[in-house]
């Protein structure tokens, strides 16, 4: 029996070229550029100075508010530059060792905070805040997001196959953290039958952890869609999953929790799918945080002249970047290199309604695009624009080639700024 969200969605080509290959560790770069703003909330503040020697795993920046995160060095070296919200560290030695976290006597939230763990699904919400909701006794369900519905990406898939035992142990640790003994549902799309079968075997004797096979459809991995598909509950407007008793966590985040609790390892490297049509062998690599795109291009033997578009994340919701001297963040789980780019000429809306058909949240995207072009914030709010998760199904399907999501992002940005100014 396949779970799925009740309406809409699209099915782009899976393109999971890296799904059958094992994860490989990328060679340590000669320097890293670690951003201080890799998470939702206030940017972290540097606590090292230029010239300082730092060891792998050492804290180099502290959180500046409740919703913020620690940042650790991903290599052993010397701080050579601090500016514009990033810290540059030059490597001085290769080292497998790292500064271990001091977790004696600490509870899971404190450990997760010290390890600098943020949501590895891409948004980067500090996990210690997520697992400490206001009323933890109301949490009755935890959903582990193993959907990985974006084309090309397969890092979560490989983690579930290669580190299955660690994955399950971490799930149990998170489950125990909640006194209310929540049931755990692991959502995995049906195009990952090997992961589903392996986990089902390992969880055969567990009653409180179940694997939920999901229909392969985008955006199956959206948290609102997952909650609706598996639990048949809807997250109300302006509310978060914990308000209805649910916590949703990404597979990569769960693995980071295992490393923090069992290996006392802070989050300083990330498993990334390197794919696209510019690379001969698409694969998943473990990459130190702050590794530059230039280094990755060189190490993965990508012809730089062939590249026309670089996307961080998946092709549906990822962001394209042009500066290859930037270092990657701990939330990065995919980098796609494409040789072609689409330059679309927007035409007028033909009112076909396809965008409304594919919207899994029941919104009418074409209205938002029209409101955005004249900056009509009131009507957009009345039509629940803030519920939009910017999944991209509407832009994908629009026959008039209107960049609907970009118009929506613009209007949401204006609305947020107006609210901030108003305060």
């Amino acid at each position: 029996m396949l779970f799925t969200f009740k309406k809409g969605g699209v099915h782009p080509k899976d393109s999971k070229y890296s799904a059958k290959k094992e994860i490989v560790q990328l060679k340590t770069p000669d320097y890293v550029q670690i951003n201080l703003n890799q998470h939702i909330g206030a940017p972290a503040k540097a606590i090292v100075k230029i010239g300082d020697s730092v060891k792998k795993g050492q804290v180099i920046a502290e959180p500046t508010s409740f919703v913020s995160s620690y940042i650790h060095s991903s290599i052993t070296g010397q701080v050579s530059k601090i500016e514009n919200n990033f810290i540059k560290i030059d490597k001085t030695e290769e080292s497998e060792d790292y500064i271990k976290l001091e977790i004696e006597g600490k509870n899971l939230s404190e450990i997760v905070k010290l390890a600098g763990i943020v949501g590895k699904g891409g948004a980067g919400f500090p996990t210690h805040v997520k697992i400490s909701p206001q009323n933890p006794e109301t949490i009755d369900s935890i959903i582990i997001n193993g959907a990985e519905c974006e084309p090309y990406l397969s890092s979560d898939h490989r983690i579930m196959i290669e580190r299955s035992l660690n994955f399950i142990e971490a799930i149990k640790i998170v489950q125990k953290h909640f006194q209310s003994k929540p049931k755990v549902y692991i959502g995995i799309e049906i195009n990952k039958t090997d992961a589903i079968d392996k986990l089902n075997k390992l969880l055969a004797n567990e009653t409180n952890i179940v694997v939920c096979p999901l229909k392969t459809r985008y955006p199956q991995g959206g948290e609102k869609q997952l909650i609706q598909a598996i639990l048949k509950r809807e997250v109300p407007t302006d509310k978060l999953p914990f308000h209805i008793g649910v916590i949703v966590l990404n597979v990569g985040t769960i693995l980071a929790i295992y490393d923090a609790v069992i290996n006392k390892k802070p989050l300083f490297e990330t498993t990334v799918t390197i794919s696209g049509d510019c690379i001969n062998e698409a694969k998943n690599y473990i990459i130190p945080v702050g590794t530059t795109l230039n280094y990755i291009i060189e190490q993965c033997l990508i012809d730089k002249n062939k590249i026309s578009k670089i996307i961080l994340g998946g092709p549906m919701m990822g962001n394209s970047v042009s500066d290859t001297s930037l270092g990657i963040n701990k939330t990065c789980s995919g980098i796609l290199f494409f040789s072609k780019t689409l330059s679309l000429n927007e035409r007028d809306c033909i009112n076909c309604g396809m965008c409304a058909d594919v919207c899994s949240l029941g919104l009418i995207p074409t209205k938002f695009a029209k409101f955005s072009k004249i900056n009509n914030m009131e009507d957009a709010l009345a039509h629940n624009i803030m519920d939009c998760t910017e999944c991209g199904c509407c832009s994908y399907i629009c026959p008039a080639k209107i960049e609907i999501v970009q118009w929506i992002k613009l209007l949401k940005n204006n609305i947020r700024n107006k609210k901030k100014d108003g305060k």
Partner: protein, 261 residues
């Protein structure tokens, strides 16, 4: 036949007389006292509802003026301003008339590109998501968000750069607020000399990014007899409280970035 219709006619006539009485009573009892000055002032105002005065429209401005709140319609000329002041029985203090100017000269091919921009043609959107194709991070994006907001059709995009028509600009200030690069500023029309460059990069980088760039060589700073020019954030800026419009700076600038509007 007449006798059958007569009662109907009488009833209707009585009903209409009754309505007339009620309406004339209501007209007197519920009359809204409108200050006649409001409509007089409204007639003198341009009626564009541009918001340059800070109010939602011309009638809102007229009403607040009659209520004694000091204000100015930046769009009207001096003669009209004086007439409005006369209606209010007040003095009109003169303020220098300003117009909007674009402090960037980075047209296509002058400001070099270092990437391709595929997104929607909107400046605010481009700013939020990484900038335009131009290498200079401080350049005009040229997508025309300012064009859309100008109620007087005074702005056009020419070769990827916003250009303001000084014969149409009324100084209402809407474009100033909307430009996400903060490149548009209101300047006194009596001071035509200006330096249309807002780079914050050092000259070495800025020159690579744009042929028109100010290089902060300080020749203008030294030449100005009133010390009106200084280098702020790597580009030259004129202090209009000191500028006497002598135009000496224009002749010494080696990159010809000091212009007249």
């Amino acid at each position: 036949m007449f006798t059958t219709i007569l009662p109907a006619i009488i009833v209707l006539v009585l009903l209409s007389l009754l309505s007339a009485l009620i309406l004339s009573y209501a007209n007197k009892k519920f009359k809204v006292e409108l200050d006649p000055r409001v409509s007089e002032i409204l007639k003198k105002l341009p009626g564009a509802n541009c918001g340059g005065c800070g109010y939602a429209g011309c009638s809102a401005f007229a009403e607040s003026s009659v209520n004694g709140v000091e204000g100015v319609c930046p769009v009207t000329d001096e003669k009209t301003k004086a007439l409005i002041a006369k209606i209010l029985g007040k003095d009109c203090s003169s303020k220098e008339k300003t117009q909007a100017r674009v402090y960037c000269s980075g047209a296509t091919n002058i400001a070099k590109d270092n990437k391709a921009y595929d997104g929607i043609k909107d400046c605010v959107s481009a700013k939020a998501f990484g900038g335009s194709s131009k290498a200079c991070a401080y350049a005009c994006y040229g997508f025309g968000t300012c064009v859309k907001i100008c109620p007087f059709y005074a702005i056009t995009i020419e070769n990827g750069l916003a250009v303001i028509n000084k014969n149409k600009c009324t100084g209402c200030g809407l474009c100033v607020d909307v430009c996400p690069q903060h490149l548009i500023r209101l300047t006194d029309i009596k001071k035509p000399v200006f330096i249309p460059c807002s780079t914050q990069n050092k000259a070495v980088i800025s020159k690579k990014n744009c042929d028109a760039s100010c290089i902060a060589c300080m020749k203008c700073v030294k030449e100005c007899p009133s010390q009106a020019i200084s280098i702020i954030n790597s580009h030259a800026v004129i202090d209009y409280t000191k500028c006497t419009d002598c135009k000496k700076c224009i002749s010494v600038c080696p990159v010809k970035i000091i212009r007249e509007v």
